[in-house]
Amino acid sequence: MSRLRLAAGLVITGLMLAVALLSLVWTPFPPDAIDMTQRLAGPGSTHWLGCDHLGRDTLSRLMVGARSAWLVGLVAVGLGLIGGTALGLLAAATRGAVETVILRASDLGFAFPALLLAIVLAAALGPGMLIAIAAIGLHAIPSFARLVNGSAKSWWARDFVQASRAAGQSRWAITLTHILPQLMPLLIVQGTTQFALAILAEAGLSYLGLGTQPPQASWGRLLAEAQTLMFEAPQLAMAPGIAITVAVLGLNLLGDGLRDWLDPKEQAR
């Protein structure tokens, strides 16, 4: 069962990545090409998924949306992962006052709604994809920091870490050579899960107009544009909606599958 989850997650995520990469070199139509004669065209042999209210090809825009999703996911999760891991490791290595400050700041970060953060950033710097990425990434830092801190502390208590200290290794070197490698499975799984959350968050922010701006395409943007045409052309909302659902499902399956696969205790069962 866990093998099946892992396989399904890999296939869906791989497919999504392939589509995103393909959109860099080829889409059926240019994603911004307006063709008023095809306005709100239904799915057919030329435009497989139909066209929007400006006659732009939905499939092409969906493919570009996959690229946006990957961009947001990678950069935002990268920001959260690197920032959060660094803070969590620092807190675990130093303990005392530094740890207290980092953990309390994380609590503060948790208490601060992601949406509010995005609105503040958008108000200050103007809305855009970068703002969405920054807001999502910043908001992921506390959860990574707390997770890494907790796990790193349990590794610090191990005999082999104490043995390394007894050999004269400094805290920072121990953090890099003995602690960080143990956290890799955890970071991979958490990173995958956060990736799914980032895609959802980007869609939400773009839908609200705080993220990706027209004419750029993202799944959230496509949903927002389709909203007013819900009854005339429901396929316009369905296409990005299904894409988001499948992508998030695939990433969660991948995360669960990886967790079971990387955890030796799970495997023994």
Binding site: A166, G168, A173
Partner: protein
Amino acid sequence: MTDEVRPAPALRAGPQASSTALLRVRGLQVWLPAPRGAWLQALHGVDLDLDRGESLALVGESGSGKTMTALALMGLLPQGARMSGQIELDGQPLQTLDDTAWCALRGRRMAMVFQEPLTALNPLQPILAQVMEPIQVHRLAPDRTATRARAMELLEQVGLESRMAAAYPHQLSGGQRQRALIATALAAAPDLLIADEPTTALDARLRVQMLALLQSLVADRGMGLLLISHDLALTARRVQRLAVLYGGRLMEQGPAAELLERPRHPYTQALWAARPRLGAGRDQPLHPLPGSVPALGQTGAGCPFAPRCPLAQPRCGEQPPAWDGGLACWEVGP
């Protein structure tokens, strides 16, 4: 094994043997933080002396403070613990060192073999990498190739085959892991080796082997060996000096041969009498020590052994006996 007392041969003194003692500990006290701001005293003033080429066994039951002593010497007491007293290594006081100075000292000047060979090795690193670590930390070899060669040499010295170098800890047996740990501790050629129950996790047959290995290595290098053990019978004949610890206080200290021939402190006597004897016949009863070790913070004002001591008088429970002539006892004066 016979009951004859055979002291270990004196070890060859190292090249840098000098007049100052290698290790000198005076009045070492350690407090551990307890809930609600309370403090539990784990060590009540421990004195130890150790020279180069000498081996000292610190013996006591579980909970007597042996490991706390070792951790205090290495500067690795748990977070929040407090310490007082003097620790000198080659005349250099250690209690004032900062973190950087400790890192330069640990592994290089004194190293430690940990109790559990199973958990004291990093599961994600091959054995060789772990033996190389102290050499790299203290920059004792010019490059990676030399570091590698030196680590391979160490593995050979502790009796591990070269094909074990690439193995991960889970692929080795308990004895092999313990050998790897010893190699790691010796990697930076320390002057003082602290071995915390290095044989407890091993089979009986391996224990003797491992102690013999430790001793020959220490003798070859002219190091000082502080052997921590709960097993008086196993260690007593293999070291030159014995220190008996109980409830965080030293009970008796002296040359091993003398101490075993004429144990003066009632606790040493009881500990020695309680050892199982091979070939003693099955109708020979064991002599267990009645009662149990006091928990941390449960020791009274006086001698911690008083509640279990056959010679105890009222004053034993009221005031701790002074440390006098290698003995701390009210009833058995020097």
